[in-house]
Symmetry: C2
Subunit: 347 residues, 2 copies
């Protein structure tokens, strides 16, 4: 009843639907309709309302709209580590797709810590997002609850999520890794090294398994494969290299589960006097941009990062709309890009 104007503190959008209605001389319902379904109001009314909107600079309050409409136009994107160059390009793909449908994204950065998942379970349960994109290969949980039990639409990209029945968009890590083994074998290598990602990670498991499988097909067994633990980062390559340099008969072909590790491995062994690829061949995974600008240029499994994000977002939006996702599991191609870091085994 009171024309209490600009009483709020920081709140922007001081102008409400009431103000517009008053100015246009119509009811708030009509303003709402004009904005949501312009075709159901008369041309003259529409004109008046739009003019009032213009004059007042009205923007609907989203909290109110969300409360009423029971949706938020927000997507939660769970990422293992926001600082990874791999994920950054995936995010760009996701965002480019979401913007087309008017969605925005909240970043759920786990920083590689499982404890961080609980925060996002809560976020979802509190109804703040309409959907969740998972890039971490795990369904976030908080001990009691799993995010999968909350009934929110989900989709997985980059990594298959065990036990999740939702659209998936990934590459075939396993097959790509078999290809890497084949690549090495064709070059005559017989002793191999593998720089791992985090233990238990879905991508890691597939890459290691695939590599072993590919080697097995070439008659290479466990005793000719050195395993170095790591974490999808630069550090992993340094650690592996330091061990590598101590070996009597070191591997001649190294497969790193991510490009960062491959790059730092190369740098470290080259600084110690080894030659790449003459003494040791190196292959990475991901195809991050900078892989083409290190020396030697890195041979790597190229993931279509932008497309992974974009396709995954499309699937999620369909799921949110309640549409059938016609192809719930999409596998994008991940070709092995030959660089200068891999070649014939030393004689």
């Amino acid at each position: 009843m009171e024309g209490n104007r600009r009483s709020a503190r920081h709140s922007p959008g001081n102008v409400t639907i009431q103000d517009v209605a008053a100015r246009a001389g119509v009811s708030t319902a009509t303003v709402s309709r004009t904005l949501a379904n312009p075709e159901v109001v008369s041309a003259t009314t529409r004109e008046r309302v739009l003019r009032a909107v213009e004059a007042t600079g009205y923007t609907p309050n989203v909290a109110a709209r969300n409360l009423r409409a029971r949706r938020s136009m927000m997507i939660l994107v769970i990422v293992p580590n926001v600082a990874s160059p791999f994920i950054a390009e995936v995010l760009r793909g996701i965002d480019d797709e979401l913007v087309l449908s008017g969605y925005d994204m909240i970043i759920g950065n786990l920083d590689n810590l499982v404890e961080r998942e609980a925060r996002y379970v809560k976020l979802v349960q509190s109804g703040q997002v309409d959907g969740v994109m998972i890039t971490s290969g795990r369904i976030p949980g908080d001990g009691d609850r799993s995010m999968a039990d909350l009934g929110v639409p989900m989709a997985a990209v980059c990594a298959a999520v065990p036990g999740l029945t939702a659209p998936h968009v990934t590459v075939d890590d396993r097959q790509a890794s078999i290809d890497v083994a084949t690549h090495f074998l064709e070059f005559g290598h017989r002793r191999f090294g593998y720089i791992s990602g985090p233990a238990g990670n879905v991508n890691e498991i597939d890459r290691y398994d695939g590599f072993k499988e590919g080697l097995r097909q070439g008659g290479v067994g466990a005793k000719d494969l050195t395993y170095w633990p790591g974490h999808f980062n630069l550090r992993a390559g340094v650690d592996a290299a330091e061990d590598f340099l101590t070996l009597e008969a070191p591997p001649t072909a190294i497969y790193a589960a991510c490009d960062e590790a491959a790059i730092s491995f190369m740098k470290t062994v080259i600084s110690a006097g080894r030659r790449v690829p003459e003494d040791v061949s190196v292959v990475g995974f991901d195809g991050i941009d900078v892989a083409r600008f290190v020396r030697p240029t890195l041979t790597t499994v190229h993931q279509p990062r932008y497309e992974l994000g974009r396709t995954g977002a499309q699937a999620l939006l369909k799921a949110i709309a309640g549409l059938e996702v016609e192809e719930p599991v999409v596998r994008l191609a991940a070709p092995l890009i030959q660089g200068a870091s891999s070649g014939p085994a030393p004689v």
Copy 2:
């Protein structure tokens, strides 16, 4: 007229404060208090309420809470390009600080496109965020409105925002660039090249100005400084290198406004047979992780990326809380880290 009471008819899985109140035999107000200010309710009541919360698995609906409380617990972070390795680590710092206060972040990715700003002006105006962190060096606008006129608390990191009266956390791009010039001059260089960032960008302006100033102090004028346009990306270094390779008397010292350009420049000229640093010295800006793993290791201005994000977030949270920000402009140190890519001028 009568407030008609509907107790249990919500979408399945959505337990409301009503359900909890009913189960605990108290009013909704008491439930609300118990959760917000546990100390004001009696121990027994608190106990009963908490048990009911537990039993029902209740989580407050955030849209309703936001509508009422006029806040969203969300921060909008405007970034020029999510896919940049520089910004990723800044985001990590921001997020680590926000999580401590219960805030989450929405990423506003401009993808280096000014047109994308309008989307976020709208987001802010619709009351969806409590504060805005700007890393783009510009106040987002949509032609009519500027985000600064919306009355939302803001803070700027990484780049000073002209005309914005809000806390700033940056490094001194200009002084750091003077340092780069000095570094080159001490090594006896007399012909210089500069690989630019996007025209008009605040950081770019400061870096270029600072570099020119440093050279001027050493008696070097415009005719001994080659300028190559670019965009804070790998492409810029390739383009610059291709031109560089055509020059009769090329510069012997190259300053790139970002590490990516420095890295790709090195790679390109080395592939063409030039030696770094014997023929040409290269210095970058940012200190991204991979700069330590290219060959030669890059000499670069090291920005404390994580700290920039973290400190900026602290300032923003204070501004949101209405507290005085005691130091509205913070300058963090950005030391020049000597790598192997810069050295004495060729004789």
